[in-house]
Symmetry: C2
Subunit: 338 residues, 2 copies
Amino acid sequence: MATLSDVARLAGVTTATVSNVLRNPGKVKPSTVEKVEAAIASTGYRPNLMARALAEGKSSMVAMVLPDITNPFYPEFVAVAERVARDRNYFLMVCNTPDRPDIGLAYLKQITGTLAGGVLVLDTGILPGDIEQISNRRAPIVLASNEAIHYDEQVPHVVLDLHRAGEIAGQHLVELGHREVGAIVGCGLAGRQIVRLGGFESALQAAGLSLAPEHVRDTPDTVEGGRAAAESLLAANANITAIFATNDLMAYGAAQVLAERGIAVPQAMSLIGITDIHLARDMRPALTTVALHTETMATLAINLLLDLIEDPGHQPRSVKVPEPALVVRASTGVVAAI
Amino acid sequence: MATLSDVARLAGVTTATVSNVLRNPGKVKPSTVEKVEAAIASTGYRPNLMARALAEGKSSMVAMVLPDITNPFYPEFVAVAERVARDRNYFLMVCNTPDRPDIGLAYLKQITGTLAGGVLVLDTGILPGDIEQISNRRAPIVLASNEAIHYDEQVPHVVLDLHRAGEIAGQHLVELGHREVGAIVGCGLAGRQIVRLGGFESALQAAGLSLAPEHVRDTPDTVEGGRAAAESLLAANANITAIFATNDLMAYGAAQVLAERGIAVPQAMSLIGITDIHLARDMRPALTTVALHTETMATLAINLLLDLIEDPGHQPRSVKVPEPALVVRASTGVVAAI
DNA sequence: CTGAAAGCGCTAACAC
DNA sequence: GTGTTAGCGCTTTCAG
């Protein structure tokens, strides 16, 4: 592949000049610009981004590490993050860390500041302690959506009120008159989605209700997990009138079980999730859920990361996602008259 | 961040020695290995992968460009490609090229050989002509799943018999006794999924049937697209007994329309897709489909790319995915007696 | 306005 | 075994 000096030689100038026409046009006389551009065209020259990054001391690439790209939440996040990053002239590389936090950590150690100028870490079960050790001024790490972890203000992160999300779901069911409800709690790499459940329970308690332990199921954060949990819930509790899942994917699995058993949604059973992935809108009956504002979150997160890259002293070091919002669709209804 | 020479200074050796303990252990005396390792540990040194790539003349990163990460086929592909790449000590960066082939091409031009040692291109509507111009010996490009394009043997690619996939779907419906069927044809970046449709039609023809133009709908390759097409099909053709969609995502959309209208699947209407994404297995009724062997395809594709990177002369330059296979689930059945 | 020269962090001969 | 040296391809002062 043609290099800068190939181009320079062909144009009869030095590499410094070629570099200038590429990066500081205007500093070079139009006539030589022409010559250089001709040389570039004829050689098919493309700058070596690694060499540039080395010389400049900064990379045009940012990375994102996430636990499971087949969980639709992440692709939706990635799609917008990529667009925002591209608008700001960065490449986005996404790293999937199937199941194991140690892989995520290994990735992080290898690429932070060496391949990527910054990294956005989602839900990978990596602890702030490890993060701080790896991060450094010019290669920041931003954490997002990692609910089980308590951040201090040092580590840059995106604040998302997952407790409130659970609470909103709970309030909605309470308002519809539900008294006996089941809960499906996801357990992924990020740990048990306990904060969401906590919010949900607090809404019930505020209404003088409570969530019995036998109405709760822990399960993997997948469609299959949701299905298994719903089956177990149904088998053990004949009297529940609503099911809350800590995310939409599991709610989707639960919906299938209900459909298979001929349990009408929402007439005989209400169903509510959290997140508002595309699938929630697409499924039938469409899923009532609590929107986490994925697009906004992704935009804020990636912008924070890029701000931090471009200005290590950037303040504030954390950013807040708007409060979760109830999206009422077809899967919830008033509890049937007894 | 600590550099090689920081470590060397601290250990009282030169950078060459440090480099050796990192890459050619055994060439260095155990006692100095210890000193160096102590220095590495105390500085928290991590090699700069860009500098290494520059010096070695090759990158440990490969890229994958794809048109729509929110289409679940791609995440499923990515997940396995990433794992295989990691096993071979490469990082995988994925680039999403939302809708526009020009973005895909721009990505490709920028990263091929400069950030990524090789690129896997899926369905992005980029033409082999452009590819050849960009590719070069040390940074190969592998094309996969780009059905509308005719490859010559020069450009490395993955061969997938999409015509056969359509044919298998058609044969299945024919065998079940369907005579009047509708077809939903996806139109994404890769162009109209015409090859699949062609296979489907040839199966009908072999049975003495034909697919009337008014039974065919072109639509975007999404859930929403599938839904719109199904509605249109149903509105215009009261007598069809089966619907074929050129991929599962659209079949999923069609299934929702059928459910909403109370059209029983498969009793009143059979439904078949192509690909076998997870959703096909997860939806209810579970979708009969023609498996494209995504995992195998991804494995073959990424391995071909890495082989080509490690040996530019590697033969063969293309690789064949096993024939598509019918997966019978719950969405197809014998045509109802009249 | 353009050239010369140093250096980003690392690897890889090749000496010693 | 370990050090010396020369680059990888680019950017960036600083002279001219």
